[in-house]
Amino acid sequence: MENEEQLSGEESLALITTMIQKAKHSYYESGTSVLLWGSLVTIASLLTFLQQAFSFSIGFDIWIIMLIAIIPQIFISIRESKNRKFKSHTDNAICAVWLTYGITLAGLVLYHNIITHVTAANIQNEGWTLVKHYTGNSQPDETIKPFVPGLFSLYLLLFAMPTLITGIVKKFRPMLIGAIIAYILFILSLFTPYKYDMLFGAATAISCWLIPGIILRKRFYRQKHSDV
């Protein structure tokens, strides 16, 4: 592009439009992070569902992979930040949303893991116990540990939140659809037996992150090739 070329009014407007369009159609989201988390949540949810449905155990808590995945995520974030050639107006806001989501999710996991133990200790200190009593005395009473009913529904609700915001702000339809599916599954999970929650979790991860991640990845490679 030369500089001192004389521009007519129409040419100026056309140039402004072209450059704004060029910026608008520049993507740098490789989809790696979305694919990583989408795959992991899908695998962990499905495995948990299968273990519950077919009464077997893999010998460890599969959700531990979420903690391990933080390490590659840090490397991915550093690499993407280095390769990023521009920052859009919405990048900081989107980053803040996902950071808040991560902290809230960690908080919910902490709540889930701590509150039942603390409640059990409190109950014990107060000198009473929770008992599962079968109506009609069909089976003998069982002492049970405190639990939070239908907690996974809250996870589904939480999964939808950053996905919906990203979909709206970035005008990225696959995430918008993913978030809507997550909200529908959240409502369904309120009325269905707990054993299906993990299946809903897998479906949410696939629709919110895995499919949008694959679409982002394809788009990223298409852009990369067109830039060569």
Partner: protein
């Protein structure tokens, strides 16, 4: 009667740079070069003219053995661009 178009912006490459920078929060030199198809030398000259006019900020930082140049439009640049578009519209309407 219409206002004369801002001479800083009424040039092909500088207008392209500002149009690009108004669409993003900040952009690297390589990104601007790629999108404008300008030569590095020409681009540097025009970026400096925009910087001298106070329309953009240029920051340099050392990263992985190379200098990374990042450009960002300033408030003055945004106002100038908006005024340019208004004047351009007035100019085009007068011509009809």
């Amino acid at each position: 009667m219409f206002k004369e178009l801002d001479p800083i912006l009424h040039s092909q490459l500088r207008l392209a740079i500002i149009s690009l920078l108004i669409s993003v929060q900040e952009a690297e030199f390589t990104f601007i070069k790629e999108k404008t198809n300008a030569t590095a030398g020409n681009l540097i000259v025009q970026l400096n003219k925009l910087k001298d006019a106070g329309y953009i900020e240029i920051s340099k930082q050392f990263r992985d053995n190379y200098t990374q140049t990042t450009c960002k439009i300033t408030r003055v640049g945004i106002d100038a661009f908006e005024q340019y578009v208004k004047d351009l519209q007035a100019y085009l309407n007068t011509g009809k």
